[in-house]
């Protein structure tokens, strides 16, 4: 059931992602544009970058991005320009500002906690826990099993 929604994008404009006429003459600039457009979201296709998307809007965004780069913007300036117009929703890689910090430290933080708990557990397993005799329940069960 994959990517049915892609249909919508395809219907809107049955074209390619990056089209030949969009490509800049300067290969260095074009390379930068490709890198940046991989991190920007196509707003009408769900969860696709504008680099992959077939939609008309994605094409507009690609052209806009290239315009900014040709005009001499740095990577950060070009991204800031687009974010200012379309909101942080276009960023596929969320910023680490404010509450988003939680998202970024969630993984490493959880790893540290898990390793800590794991270490405590493993160390405790190093010592034999409790006496070696069977508990009352276990003895009863053993008797039951061994009953002829």
């Amino acid at each position: 059931m994959k990517r049915l929604i892609l249909m919508l994008c395809l219907l809107a404009a049955p074209v390619f992602a990056v089209q030949p006429d969009e490509i800049l003459d300067d290969p260095v600039l074009e390379q930068r544009a490709r890198e940046l457009s991989r991190g920007l979201r196509c707003l009408v296709c769900r969860n696709e970058s504008i680099d992959e998307s077939h939609a008309e809007l994605a094409r507009d965004l690609r052209l806009l991005l290239r315009e900014r780069l040709v005009a001499g913007d740095s990577d950060e300036q070009a991204i800031a320009f687009i974010v200012a117009r379309y909101g942080e929703y276009v960023l596929l890689k969320p910023t680490s500002s404010g509450a988003n910090l939680l998202l970024w430290i969630a993984g490493p933080g959880m790893l540290v906690i898990a390793l800590g708990i794991g270490l405590i557990y493993v160390r405790r397993r190093g010592r034999p826990a409790g006496p070696d005799e069977l508990s009352g329940d276990e003895q009863a069960r053993l008797d039951e099993i061994l009953k002829p």
């Binding site: 969860n47 929703y89 596929l92 998202l103 010592r127």
Partner: protein
């Protein structure tokens, strides 16, 4: 008539499921054997009834019965027969029916092949499994009935979505569901064990094959979906970190963790409580996946249901089962005291580390998937979490896992000396680093991705080989070979599956780092260079398929004047669904794929053409298949069969609960 019979069979199955969910459970609590015995025939009946319902729906699709709403929406008389079949599950209602069919199949399998289970445990497992069935039968019957008739049947249907008319995608959902639903078995075993209050090595031995089966189906299902995306979507992407992909990936990660922790329970009687928790969580993630796909809460490129009512229903199911199981867990987990003693350096500790990495990796995927929801709910920020985040946040876990894997796999149980254990791996390590260094100096780019991928594949495959080799012991070649042939299949399975992971990692790293792309307008007859190849656009023709019309390009790829491949990329248009698709032409090779896509005609008479060279792309899916084969090998291990026989021989040893 047959459709009504199918509907009726489904309602009967619902009724049987209710009985099976209650009667054996009560029987097991009270020790009434006759009540417990209800479970077995009920499980069979439930499966057969659901099969009948599924058969009726399939019949409606194959005969193009356009008085059934679902058939009208998803079929057409011109559609090839294979897709008439796959159309049954190419939609929400039908796929839910497949879901419960597999659920009841697993329940029936537990009834048929679980003769060696203690009767109390078996009755409880089948009851819990049936309780899940009750929830999903109700879901289908009350919110998504596939058997709805139309008052005025149209002359023809609206056709199945053309993107789904593809062999890869025809089999993607069944495999995925076998995996998702297979985890319900581990869940049922976990809850039954919690009710009984006993988890021992025997329990782990029963749970492991089910988890292994679910995991290997999930592996195949995910690989099929990714392979389909690769050749169908027209730019050769294979993984998008889409919420729905993540929904299948999280259970996979947890199932992989569960597989490994169940080994510790089976061999060493430690990690019991944790294993139970994983079994509950694995199925929980399956349910979350179902919820994500069918509720439309998270925007995904997979649009399926987008029906809030259905979403709420699944959320209730999720709440009841997870809430219930976790409450039970909180009450009972404390009693599951571990027995095995082991030191800091041991196989047990390595498996604990494996579990930590897999579980935290699953957590990272989970939080990334739901973060847009949380951010909007609590911080009023509308934002996206896409591939760049996951690539950055997830990859370190995968690399860490791959780095410790061969070492952990070779450590002995209980107590190990690290120096001695890694000795056979020193050569492998040197080889891996040398290979990485060589590639690093040879490649022109700045990416460390490919060298790291190569180091990991050599390390994992070499490590697995070293592991198998050390198992052959000392002695001459003949005795080594003899030991090799008598090595348990589970050990082979481990080596094969671990190698498969390495191969997949390398495929991903290589294709990401070394892919070459060329986008241009080509005139008819024009030849242009791409990498070491020359591509010629010979001709573009229009052709008609069974239910589509196609624009087909005839292209030749040569290298130094020698023809490498003759390729025919297509662009199709499906008139009934009014939808175009791209059919990339791919020349699959061992070291590279040549990937050609034909685009639109240009004003000057040329055609837009995209060419990709994708090095080692096939290794991604080859690795997945090898992983699944490893699972299969492990599943066929002797001890699962022999132990079963041994249990049967002493029925008196099993106490009546």
């Amino acid at each position: 008539m047959i459709v009504e019979l199918g509907h009726f069979a489904l309602i009967l199955a619902f009724a049987v499921a209710i009985v099976q969910a209650i009667v054996p459970l009560v029987g097991a609590q009270k020790g009434w054997r006759s009540w417990m015995a209800v479970a077995e025939p009920a499980a069979s009946a439930q499966f057969l009834l659901t099969l009948a319902a599924f058969g009726a729906l399939t019949y409606a699709f194959v005969t193009s019965d356009f008085s059934v709403q679902l058939v009208v929406l998803n079929s057409h008389t011109d559609k090839p027969l294979l897709y008439k079949f796959s159309g049954v599950w190419g939609n929400h209602e039908g796929s839910m029916l497949l879901w419960v069919l597999i659920l009841t199949l697993f329940g029936a399998c537990a009834a048929w092949f679980g003769g060696n289970l203690p009767p109390g445990l078996r009755a409880r497992v089948l009851s819990v499994q049936s309780a899940i069935g009750v929830a999903f039968f109700a879901f289908i019957l009350f919110t998504s009935n596939p058997f709805v008739r139309l008052g005025i049947p149209p002359m023809n249907g609206q056709d199945l979505n053309p993107l789904l008319q593809d062999p890869g995608l025809a089999f993607h959902p069944p495999f995925l569901y076998l995996g998702y639903v297979g985890l319900s078995m581990s869940f049922s075993f976990a809850v039954a064990a919690l009710i009984e209050g006993r988890v021992d090595a025997a329990w782990a031995r029963w749970v492991r094959p089910w988890t292994l089966a679910a995991w290997l189906f999930l592996t195949v299902g995910i690989a099929l979906g990714s392979w389909w995306a690769y050749y169908e979507l027209g730019w050769g992407g294979f993984w998008f970190w889409d919420p729905v992909e993540n929904a299948s990936f999280m259970p996979w990660l947890i199932a992989a963790a569960l597989l490994h922790s169940a080994i510790v329970v089976e061999k060493r009687e430690a990690l019991k409580a944790w294993t139970i928790l994983l079994a509950i969580l694995a199925f929980g993630f399956s349910l979350i996946g179902t919820f994500i796909v069918r509720s439309g809460v998270l925007t995904s490129v997979h649009a399926f249901a987008n029906d809030p009512e259905r979403g709420v229903f699944i959320l209730i199911i999720l709440g009841v089962f997870m809430g219930g199981a976790l409450t039970l867990y909180a009450a009972r987990a404390g009693t599951m005291e571990a027995k095995g003693v082991f030191s800091l350096v041991s196989r047990e500790s390595a498996l604990v580390t494996n579990n930590i990495l897999l579980a935290v990796a699953a957590f990272v995927v989970f939080i990334g998937t739901i973060w847009p929801l949380l951010a909007e709910l609590f911080f009023d920020r509308k934002l996206s979490v896409g591939a760049p985040f996951f690539n950055a946040a997830f990859t370190p876990f995968l690399v860490a896992l791959a780095v410790i894997m061969p070492v952990g796999a070779m450590l002995p149980w209980k107590r190990a000396r690290i120096g001695r254990a890694v000795q056979p791996l020193i050569g492998v390590l040197a080889l891996a680093l040398a290979a990485g260094a060589l590639v690093w100096t040879m490649q022109t780019g700045r990416s460390i991705l490919a060298p790291v991928g190569l180091i990991l594949v050599v390390w994992l495959v070499g490590g697995a080989a070293a592991d198998v080799y050390t198992r052959t012991g000392r002695g001459d070649l003949r005795s080594k070979i003899r030991r090799l042939t008598t090595l348990p299949r589970a050990d082979w399975g481990k080596a094969v599956a671990h190698s498969g992971l390495g191969i997949t990692i390398f495929g991903i790293a290589a294709v990401t780092a070394w892919q070459q792309e060329d986008i241009r307008v080509a005139q008819l007859g024009e030849t242009f260079p791409v990498g070491v190849y020359e591509v010629t656009l010979n001709d573009v023709l229009r052709e008609a398929g069974p239910n589509y019309s196609a624009t087909r390009a005839d292209m030749t790829v040569t290298r130094n004047g020698r023809v490498v491949a003759q390729l025919y990329p297509e662009k199709r248009n499906y008139p009934v669904a009014q939808m175009p698709t791209t059919e990339a032409a791919i020349d699959n090779g061992f070291t590279r794929d040549l990937y050609l896509v034909i685009g639109d005609p240009q004003a000057d008479g040329g055609w837009a053409v995209r060419t990709y060279i994708k090095p080692f792309a096939n290794w991604i899916w080859a690795g997945c298949i090898i992983m699944a084969l490893g699972g299969l090998l492990s599943l066929s291990d002797r001890r699962y069969r022999v132990a079963a026989g041994a249990r049967k021989a002493v029925p008196g040893a099993v106490p009546a609960e």
